[in-house]
């Protein structure tokens, strides 16, 4: 549970991200990637969720699109605790990057969000088919109703390598400084 007295972890309080993380996440999303999120629910327990797309990825702002019905409990949790974790994984290579941030806010999805998410999900669907998940499954997994989409924006604080292996969890800034 959160502790008000505990000192902040300096690895998670510095603002902004290195261009390396931005470039990789943008490339993953463009080519089709799995995007998942983690938040703290109203009960104080962690909650896993699935995102539709990452529609903006800047040094000081990340914007993701979520299905509201699929993530209703998670969105309620975000309104109380605005800290968020986002992991983007490339299907064929399993390369993954995790972004941790704070100050998450819920916003209405814009037409541009929907266009970007559709493009990313189309690419993700193709990646799943290439990975032999089957066309029917891949299509169902990547389908969404634009009317049910909601945007979440947050301030990124740090990026971590999340590719499976012993280096998973290593902070990206440390690896390039």
């Amino acid at each position: 549970m959160p502790s008000a007295q505990a000192p902040a972890d300096p690895a998670e309080t510095e603002p902004g991200l290195l261009p390396e993380a931005q470039t990789l996440v943008e490339a993953f999303c463009q080519h089709g990637a799995s995007i998942i999120i983690g938040v703290i629910g109203l009960s104080g327990r962690p909650l896993a969720g699935v995102a539709l797309g990452c529609t903006e990825f800047g040094p000081n702002k990340v914007r993701v699109l979520l299905s509201r019905p699929l993530n209703s409990e998670l969105l309620h949790g975000l309104m109380r605790n605005s800290r968020i974790a986002l992991t983007v994984s490339e299907v064929p290579t399993h390369r993954s990057i995790q972004i941790k941030g704070e100050g998450a806010v819920l916003l209405a999805a814009q037409a541009e969000d929907l266009q970007i998410a559709k493009r990313q999900l189309r690419a993700f669907r193709d990646q799943l088919i290439d990975a032999e998940y089957g066309e029917a499954f891949a299509t169902a997994y990547c389908r969404f109703d634009p009317a049910e989409a909601v945007a979440v924006e947050f301030i990124p604080r740090a990026a971590f390598t999340q590719t499976p292996g012993p280096r998973a969890g290593e902070r990206m800034q440390e690896s390039v400084r």
């Binding site: 502790s3 983690g38 962690p46 909650l47 896993a48 969720g49």
Partner: protein, 184 residues
């Protein structure tokens, strides 16, 4: 009401699962994991392969949330988990090690995946998520039930069904899966 036995097809390691934890300060962490292993009607086990952030979080807070996906129907469920123990040997560990080797081979991760322990969790709740579902006709495969039963007996000698369900919605239209894994 959804039980763990009804969602056995999600626990075959075909689609990665999504695991969220948090540290002691309330910062969430989320990662894809290769294996959520059925232990008994009230427990699953996750593979412990590296002493990473997820592992540290679980040891610190002893709670987790995982989303599992049925590779045939795209049914999705969020499981609320309480960490109980880590096993580093025995039937459960050996079963998970064998399964992990198969997953590693299929995903070309043989040099990366190495099981250090089987982390056993109590499943506190299963929440069906309103995903887009495919109609699936799935015959029962008795071999799957036999495999699971062996692990139950070896681990605790406990096999009493325990309903673990929360929420409604998509669950109402669920087709019972009977623990089958008879994909082609």
């Amino acid at each position: 009401m959804t039980t763990l036995d009804q969602i056995r097809n999600c626990l075959e390691g075909v689609v990665p699962a999504f695991l969220a934890t948090s540290d002691g300060e309330g910062m969430p962490n989320v990662s894809e994991i290769s294996q959520v292993h059925y232990v008994d009607p009230g427990h699953v086990a996750l593979s412990y392969q590296f002493f990473n952030k997820t592992r540290r979080n679980v040891l610190a807070t002893r709670v987790a949330s995982v989303i599992v996906v049925d590779p045939d129907s795209n049914a999705q469920y969020r499981l609320e988990l309480d960490f109980e123990e880590t096993q580093t040997g025995g039937p459960l560990f050996e079963a998970m090690r064998a399964k992990l080797a198969g997953i590693a081979s299929h995903t070309h991760m043989e040099s990366v995946f190495r099981l250090l322990g089987s982390d056993v969790y109590e499943v506190r709740a299963i929440e069906p998520l309103p995903s887009r579902r495919l109609e699936v006709l799935r015959p029962c495969n008795p071999l799957s039930a036999a495999r699971g039963g062996g692990v139950v007996d070896a681990r605790r000698g406990r096999a009493a069904a325990r309903p673990v369900s929360r929420g409604a919605g998509a669950a109402d239209g669920d087709r019972p899966l009977d623990g089958a894994d008879a994909r082609p």
